[in-house]
């Protein structure tokens, strides 16, 4: 059909909507992307929680095996990342609660809330691990 051809050529000429790589990264945009990434990471990370709980319910031998894996350098890095993802997603959620009330939409507040999310999440992650390790006399 002639009209179909016309439609196809017209569609080809249409400009594409600009995607991520077109825009220079802004902090609120980076935080938005990190909110989704940390959410997806936490989704998969529930497997670690389930594994830890099942190990505790299974018995001392299997618990020691899993606990040893978690205490390895890679394990500690993953657990620290898990802690940060959890806190970052939580604080990002609190930021969204502020926006849900219709407040905090001026550019200055948006930047403050966005920078606050990454800074507070990192500080809290380090603090909670320092506290946990110090309580055990590990550091």
């Amino acid at each position: 059909m002639a009209s179909a051809e016309t439609h196809a050529s017209k569609r080809k000429q249409r400009p594409l909507s600009p995607h991520l790589q077109i825009y220079s990264p802004l902090i609120n945009m980076v935080m938005s992307i990190l909110h989704r990434i940390t959410g997806a990471a936490l989704y998969v990370g529930t497997l670690l929680l389930a594994w830890w709980l099942i190990a505790a319910a299974t018995g001392p031998a299997y618990f020691n095996f899993v606990s040893g894996l978690f205490a390895s350098p890679v394990g500690l890095l993953v657990l620290f990342g898990y802690t940060w993802a959890l806190l970052h997603h939580m604080i990002g959620g609190l930021r969204h609660f502020v926006w849900d009330t219709g407040r905090g939409f001026d550019l200055g507040t948006i930047d403050t809330l966005s920078w606050g999310t990454i800074i507070i999440s990192l500080v809290l992650s380090v603090a909670i691990w320092a506290w946990g390790l110090m309580a055990k006399g590990i550091i």
């Binding site: 989704r36 959410g39 997806a40 936490l42 989704y43 529930t46 497997l47 929680l49 389930a50 709980l53 099942i54 505790a56 319910a57 018995g59 001392p60 618990f63 020691n64 606990s67 205490a71 802690t83 959890l86 939580m90 959620g93 609190l94 969204h96 609660f97 849900d100 909670i128 691990w129 506290w131 946990g132 390790l133 309580a135 055990k136 590990i138």
Partner: protein, 139 residues
């Protein structure tokens, strides 16, 4: 096939939604604001429960099996942990649903992914609940 152009509706005629549709208030997605609202309610619950659980779990860094088991037997940890698992299940299912709906390339892939999302959440969630219940009620 000839197409007849409909006249532009006047402002009074533009409201073509039926009174029943308005009363239901479900909109074009047919599910209203349910998804948004459940994500917010579980988000508030998660934020509170995560703090209560994280503070106690951080103190279990490097703890042996008996200590972890004793901590999980205490309702001070097992109660907020079980509530967090249930609230988290709803929250992560809704969140992953949004990601799937954003990126699924075809309707078939979307339906399969949404189904797997539900299966994953229920499997991991109930594995956690089973482990906590086994420790709480077990010897």
């Amino acid at each position: 096939m000839s197409t007849t152009l409909r006249p532009t509706p006047s402002p009074t005629e533009a409201h073509i939604r039926t009174p029943l549709a308005k009363a239901r208030g479900l909109g074009s997605a047919h599910s209203g604001t349910e998804h948004f609202w459940h994500q917010r309610v579980t988000g508030v619950a998660n934020a509170i429960l995560v703090i209560v659980v994280l503070v106690q779990v951080a103190r279990l860094t490097g703890a042996d099996h008996a200590t972890v088991k004793a901590a999980l037997k205490s309702p001070l940890l097992s109660m907020p942990l079980l509530l967090l698992i249930l609230s988290g299940m709803v929250h992560m299912r809704l969140g992953m649903q949004t990601i799937i709906e954003d990126y699924a390339s075809s309707e078939g892939a979307k339906v399969v992914a949404l189904m797997l999302n539900t299966f994953f959440v229920i499997l991991v969630g109930f594995a956690c609940v089973y482990a906590v219940a086994k420790i709480s009620f077990g010897a």
